[in-house]
Symmetry: C2
Subunit: 376 residues, 2 copies
């Protein structure tokens, strides 16, 4: 059996999420679900499957203590569905407590170092991305948004942390990579630890919701938090992981590089619907076979879309699943049913996003002047 | 014959400065000396021995065009004599033209990554260092002082440039180093190129006066300026190199790590005088031999002090030199003569520096608000 690999800059495919526990020490989320008063769709449905140290966050919620929810989002374009998962988790955890503050990092340094997107370009895309997360329900009153490239703290601490790592340590975590990527990893550690700086209220639990492939950054951040504990008081950050979306074009992971594998929240609804109709499924070779032994929803990127985003009710998701395995639901009808929902949801989201563009600009400006006003 | 090596973070010893030309492409300064109206002490005496592209700066002086003089000074303590050389060169080139602006970078990121000095500590030392250079004659009206760790531009461009280098390129220039040092090298490239950013007047000649051991940074900066020329319009920076001070304790290079090898501008004058008296010389085994065949001023760290800093008149330096080789001047008397000058000069400098402490703080604050006010 091949080992699982988690690569934040490559194409990660996870065969078996349970194995991430034995291989990387990611803990299973399931035992903690009863501690949530109202678990989110992702948590209820097992899309969020694992965590590190989530107990610290749940304790903070229970005890009404401050904590931060932080994630970096690369401004590479309109939110794709994987980014939406991270954003949904940020919004959800913000809603769990009045003491939760969201730090939304516009990861423009990483977008530049990994994808070659200029900072100017990032800056434009970022406004739309922030409008996206506002449309998904983010409360701007408890949110701080900033660009990596402009926040002197994260750049400065990225530099500081570069002294705390050895080249071997970076190679062990990330493999042999260009220095630019190592560097953006260090900046991301600084992003993750920033909410614990004195001027931002000092040490506190920080939850980082990310895709499973981003776990290497979490491990590095936890190592460095421990290493610098005496100097800065950092508490190792907590994390929660969502599964990676399956690709509509049949590869293991959705990739923005394969245009038919996925769609964004900004895609023309009719074009997205077409991609759904053309998508691979977990169906059988013939209709007859499928009626006889049922489809395989667990392997199906179309079902993945229902489960992760487009079946708003749990019961509906369950019905799709049961009908698939029961051989009642054929792929063609299943896809056109989904295509309709996708069309409507994208249309609704687009309208909401547009109505939030001004708020997005305001939130960015407000955050900038807030961070600028803090002593360093 | 061993190859020369230039290592900005190690102990560089140069056996033969002329060979730096054939091995690294550093050009000899001598042919350009006639172009200076009033060459500085360092230039007249061959202490500044080499350059890259200095012609561009001389053209700017002749044509009354703007240019920048920039160097990064590590705030590791009160100026030692090598730093004073760099500072003297900055002051001199500022004086060559009303269109010259000095950028003085407090290299606190490098002090942290190379020497483990905290940013807080650096911040205190930096004020004294700026007072030092003011005492050496810097005109604060055409000078911008900033800390690497606080100037978002250099941190940002350091990150950007990290994408423009390969690990092999860094290894070829610097050898196999921890990522923290590679990173501080990239930040230094950003320091060097910053004066050419649009908000600072755009592309222009920039002169970097440094010790010969810092040439690797210059090569990297020139490579990257060329690489990013199309995007940012950078002109490859020029440089001028001073020789490295000989160590009083007999090693090849002065080192702050060997306490008797050197003294700082802040050292107790009597303690500095003692170090001079205890210093190695280029003298012969016996007084008799020295009278007969003369001493070797060219190999003598005591003569080096006369030549580089303490013989204010050229004629006096020449006399010391001639008397040494002529067997007239014995090491003991030569050292006590120097010790007296050192004592007086350090005493004078200390008084001047103290009188500039307030101006130093003002210059730092003024620069910070100036850089902060510029669009980015």
């Amino acid at each position: 059996m091949e080992k699982e690999t988690l690569d934040p800059w490559g194409t990660t495919t996870v065969q078996n999420y349970d194995r991430l526990s034995s291989e990387f020490g990611i803990e299973r989320l399931k035992p903690l679900i009863p501690r949530f008063k109202k678990p989110s769709l992702h948590i209820r449905r097992g899309i969020d499957f694992g965590h590190r140290d989530l107990g610290k966050i749940l304790d903070a919620i229970d005890n009404n203590k401050p904590f931060a929810v932080m994630s970096g989002i690369k401004p590479t374009g309109i939110f794709h569905l994987g980014t939406k998962m991270t954003a949904d988790d940020m919004v959800f955890f913000q809603s769990t407590s009045p003491k939760a503050t969201v730090y939304y990092c516009i990861a423009d340094i990483e977008a530049y170092n990994d994808n070659g997107i200029s900072l100017q370009e990032s800056s434009k895309i970022a406004i739309q991305n922030v409008a996206d997360i506002l449309a998904l329900g983010l409360d701007p009153d408890r949110a701080v948004v900033y660009k990596q490239s402009e926040e002197v703290r994260v750049l400065q601490y990225g530099m500081i942390f570069s002294r705390g790592v050895t080249n071997n340590m970076l190679r062990a975590i990330y493999g042999d990579r260009p220095i630019g990527l190592y560097l953006s990893a260090l900046v991301q550690v600084a992003d993750i630890l920033m909410p614990q700086l004195p001027e931002l209220g000092g040490p506190k639990p920080v939850l980082v919701p990310v895709g499973a492939d981003q776990d290497p950054h979490i491990r590095l951040a936890r190592d460095l938090a421990t290493k610098y504990h005496d100097e800065f008081g950092f508490i190792p950050p907590s994390s929660i992981y969502h599964k990676l979306m399956k690709s509509l074009s049949g590869q293991a992971k959705m990739s923005k590089r394969t245009i038919t594998s996925s769609f964004t929240l900004g895609e023309e609804p009719s074009s997205a619907a077409k991609k759904v109709m053309a998508g691979f499924t977990g169906g059988r070779a013939t209709v007859e076979e499928q009626r006889k032994i049922g489809g395989e929803a667990d392997k199906c990127p179309v079902y993945d879309l229902y489960l992760s985003h487009f079946a708003h009710e749990d019961e509906y998701a369950k019905r799709v699943y049961d009908e698939c395995y029961g051989g009642i639901r054929m792929c063609g009808e299943c896809k056109s049913e989904l295509a309709k929902i996708v069309k409507k949801d994208l249309d609704d989201h687009r309208k909401r996003r547009e109505s939030y563009m001004k708020d997005a600009e305001e939130l960015i400006a407000k955050s900038k002047s807030y961070l600028g006003s803090l002593a360093r």
